[in-house]
């Protein structure tokens, strides 16, 4: 704490003497370059890193999807082998959900939430950095499995004893993104080394530990954001004045902290089965594989809303902006989001209608699933009500948002079909289900997130993406997406099973599978074009104005890019949509002069979150390699635990540190309506 002693405010921390922790370690202070990106605790930079990694993994997951579609383009195809196909669809689902959509949502949480509530950072800046690096290393551990798979195909391991002892040699996860037991588990009695026989190779161990580590990252981030939203709101920013995106972040974070423990326990149990011969899901000794399904979906269904609620929040910000109207029915939209969150915990068994739950649970879960359509429908009506009678501007984010409403509704309709248990038993494990959840997750979530990227990019980087390319990319994504997934409804209803490596001629599936593959390639090119446009913009795009869209929420009152301290003076809020009201009506944003001559207090950067996350990386690499039977790798796991503990301990004793940053003179920082082109 002594390090935060008062000194004259500076423009950069490097002007001050080097800051040391209690045991003499030097704290990093560079605000540019690699050192900065590795040690930053600035929520905006962490948000950008989340976004960059998420976009990379989106493209990786897209390549995996294209491999799947190429394999299915014609009957009896052998573009990739059946074991490789299993690994592709497993890693496609896992990558898109855990490494694509969730971190991209987290990127928006990080960048936007403090700005929208008028805060200078999140409640725990170093914990935020820890979440980021834990996510990155969890994703890395998961994808290292591809390196082993590549080595296996190249014959790198042929001369090793551990390799010759492996029964199953699928090194990347190959049991589907929900890893049903007993396929992911064990059978038979455990041997002297406490190992039971397994149905799958070590890919499953990579999956188990990878998801476990990603869960830690999500939990830590969610704790942080709930505290931030509850505790760091600017004066006057009551809960019912929060921007809807912040509200949906709050609901999502609660879903994460209450749903992830179920998967954590399920993964621990599965890990004990595989590593130590326990019997949680081992049918030989009385384990019940269906328990895995229950535990997984108690997590897995809230997870669906964890994926979609942030996108709904984004769209709820974009539609009012480009309709030049306040969001229609703000309280009911917020309430519906919360109700979706609650009901999300009460519908998990609709994934299991065909397991024979009995008539009463089946009917109950059917009803609850139908009930969840009500708050969702309410939201859609409110969005339409927002656009109705507005001065609509069809900018790229608006086009993508309208695409979101339209595609998400299509996915919602097929979802209501699934809620009927008799209908669902026909659709279970067919391409109809694949079509349904891609309409919700791709037509819904991806379009919403892309809309958010195009909407906030001028604020994040101060540069405006090329609109023409954005329109072309949006059209390619929406057209290609419908071409790819529309026909899957038909394929599914005519009986094409999901996760099939190939199919015979004569079922009438050839034509639509080929069409779907063409659609997938158009979609893939569209997403690539949209992302490439953004990446190019970040470096070379045209300078954007501070408030190019005539925005409504607080982040648009700040310069672009946003300065490190966000708000030179803490804003005082008097109304919802305060910035819009402030610009076009009576001034509704006051300011506390807490920046002033003493400057703004900033937290110091730190290596420790990264160090603690490296501990997780060592565990994540060591455990699956130990499971392969490579000698001495257990020590890597133990060392990883040690590094984790060391990181947390050094983190605790170094304290937050801090210094004071100079802000511009008080005259220029009071929020004033900028003369933008739209005003």
């Amino acid at each position: 704490m002594a390090t935060a002693a008062h000194h004259a405010p500076v423009t950069d921390k490097t002007e001050l003497p080097v800051e040391r922790s209690d045991i003499g370690l030097v704290r990093p202070d560079r605000t540019t370059g690699l050192l900065d990106w590795l040690t930053t605790v600035d929520h905006k930079k962490i948000g950008i890193l989340y976004g960059a990694f998420a976009m990379f993994f989106f493209l990786l997951g897209g390549v995996e999807a294209l491999a799947i579609r190429t394999q299915l383009a014609k009957p009896n195809n052998d573009f990739i082998s059946a074991p490789m196909y299993n690994q592709m669809f497993t890693m496609h689902g896992t990558t898109m959900i855990f490494l694509g959509v969730m971190p991209l949502s987290a990127a928006f949480f990080n960048f936007l939430v403090p700005l929208q509530i008028g805060a200078r950072d999140v409640a725990f800046p170093r914990l935020n950095a820890f979440s980021l690096w834990t996510f990155v290393f969890g994703a890395f551990a998961l994808n290292v499995s591809w390196v082993f798979e590549f080595g296996h195909l190249q014959g790198w391991f042929d001369n090793y004893e551990w390799y010759s002892k492996l029964v199953y040699k699928d090194f990347a996860p190959a049991n589907g993104w929900f890893s049903y037991a007993p396929l992911s588990g064990t059978f038979g009695q455990a041997d002297a080394a406490l190992h039971a026989q397994r149905f799958t190779g070590v890919g499953t161990d990579f999956w188990i530990i990878g998801i476990q580590i990603l869960g830690v990252a999500s939990l830590a981030a969610s704790f942080n954001f709930i505290v931030t939203i509850f505790n760091m709101r600017a004066p006057g920013m009551t809960m019912m004045r929060l921007p809807v995106f912040t509200w949906m972040t709050l609901v999502t974070a609660f879903l994460i902290i209450l749903a992830f423990p179920a998967i954590t326990v399920a993964l621990i149990e599965l890990m004990f089965d595989r590593q130590f011969g326990a019997n949680f899901f081992n049918p030989t000794n009385g384990g019940q594989p269906i328990l895995w399904q229950h535990l997984f979906w108690i997590f897995g269904h809230p997870e669906v809303y964890i994926l979609v609620l942030p996108a709904m929040g984004i769209v709820s910000e974009i539609l009012p902006t480009f309709s030049r109207k306040a969001l229609f029915g703000y309280p009911i939209i917020v309430f519906s989001g919360a109700v979706i969150g609650f009901l999300g915990f009460a519908v998990w068994s609709h994934h299991m209608f065909t397991t024979g739950l009995g008539p009463v649970p089946t009917a109950a879960f059917s009803l609850l699933t139908m009930a969840i359509a009500v708050p969702t429908g309410v939201k859609i009506f409110n969005w339409v009500g927002t656009i109705w009678g507005g001065q609509v501007r069809f900018t790229p984010p608006m086009v993508l948002s309208l695409g979101f409403i339209w595609m998400f509704m299509c996915g919602g309709f097929s979802g209501i079909m699934h809620s009927s248990a008799p209908a669902d038993s026909q659709q279970q494990d067919t391409y109809f289900v694949v079509a349904h959840f891609h309409y919700v997750l791709l037509g819904g979530v991806l379009l919403g997130l892309m809309a958010g990227l195009y909407f906030w990019f001028p604020k994040i980087f101060g540069r405006m993406p090329n609109a023409t390319i954005a329109y072309i990319a949006s059209a390619m994504v929406i057209f290609g997406f419908n071409l790819a997934f529309g026909p899957m409804h038909y394929l599914g209803l005519t009986g094409m099973p999901r996760r099939t490596h190939t199919y015979q001629t004569g079922f009438g599936w050839e034509q639509w599978n080929f069409v779907a593959t063409i659609g997938a390639y158009i979609l893939g090119l569209g997403v690539f074009l949209a992302f490439a446009n953004l990446v190019w913009t970040a470096w070379r795009g045209k300078r954007a104005e501070t408030d190019p869209w005539d925005g409504r929420t607080l982040e648009w009152s700040l310069p672009s890019p946003v300065p490190a301290y966000n708000f030179a003076q803490t804003p005082v809020i008097a109304t919802r949509d305060a910035w819009f009201e402030h610009k076009h009506g009576a001034a509704r944003i006051g300011a506390l002069s807490d920046g002033g001559p003493e400057g703004v207090h900033m937290p110091s950067q730190s290596w420790m979150p990264l160090l603690a996350a490296v501990g997780f990386l060592m565990i994540g690499l060591g455990l699956p390699m130990m499971s392969m039977g490579i000698p001495h790798l257990g020590w890597l796991v133990i060392a990883g635990l040690g590094v984790l503990f060391l990181g947390i301990w050094l983190w605790a004793i170094e304290g937050p540190g801090g210094y004071h940053l100079k802000t511009p003179s008080a005259k220029s920082v009071t929020p004033t309506p900028t003369a933008s082109a739209h005003a």
Binding site: A123, F223, N224, N231, M232, F260, F272, N279, G286, G658
Partner: protein, 219 residues
């Protein structure tokens, strides 16, 4: 340890206290899932476990309820000492805080010792993690709780030594101790639930200690 923790917050609750409550909410779901797994399998397989001689035995033949009651009592008393430690810290009585926290650490270690003894004892009686579902759920559930206790002990040991640096003081110091206390009380409450639904209920019902089935099954 965050400077912003001392700043006024929108709700009036310190950041660190709020995040600990959120963690505990999450941990409730965590233990809830583990306890559910155990109870579901107990209902499915009421007979219990197979002992070292290959006989099917009821679980109450395995349990040493006197020992577990003792360790439960010790853990409850550790919570009492923890409350005293928190109270002392709020009053700035650092010496009293140290005495009480040492007591909590000692009692926590006694509880862990009992658990280690219990695990070894059960293992020699034939209950392993591999030979039955009961073994898997029992060891993983109580072992996870033991891990929580061990982390709590480690945390308190670090706080104890940290108090000698002179930096554990004032509002922030009291807050840090109070948060460790929240965690400790939570782990204690979880144990009360585990003691009830894993140990005590085994003695109820027709197969229980007052039921008729005990005599016929004991070999």
């Amino acid at each position: 340890m965050s400077d912003s923790a001392a700043a006024p917050t929108s709700t009036g609750i310190d950041h660190k206290k709020l995040i600990m409550w959120l963690f505990l909410a999450s941990d409730c779901m965590f233990f809830g899932t583990l306890i559910s797994t155990h109870l579901l399998y107990r209902k499915l397989y009421p007979t219990g476990f197979t002992d070292a001689e290959g006989h099917v035995r009821f679980v109450q033949n395995l349990f040493d309820i006197e020992l577990t009651s003792f360790s439960t009592f010790i853990l409850l008393m550790s919570s009492f000492l923890m409350a005293l430690a928190v109270s002392a810290m709020h009053k700035g009585q650092i010496a009293s805080f140290r005495r009480n926290v040492l007591g909590v650490i000692l009692f926590g270690l006694i509880f862990l010792g009992c658990q280690v003894y219990e695990f070894t004892h059960f293992y020699h009686k034939g209950l392993t993690i591999q030979n039955s579902v009961f073994g898997s759920t029992f060891y993983v559930l109580t072992g996870t709780h033991g891990t929580h206790v061990a982390i709590g002990v480690l945390w308190l040991v670090l706080l104890y030594f940290y108090s000698f640096t002179g930096k554990l003081r004032g509002h922030i110091g009291a807050l840090d101790v109070e948060i460790a206390g929240l965690y400790w009380h939570f782990v204690d409450i979880v144990w009360i639930i585990i003691f009830t639904v894993v140990y005590l209920v085994e003695y109820l019902g027709p197969n229980g200690i007052w039921g008729s089935a005990v005599a016929t099954i004991t070999p």
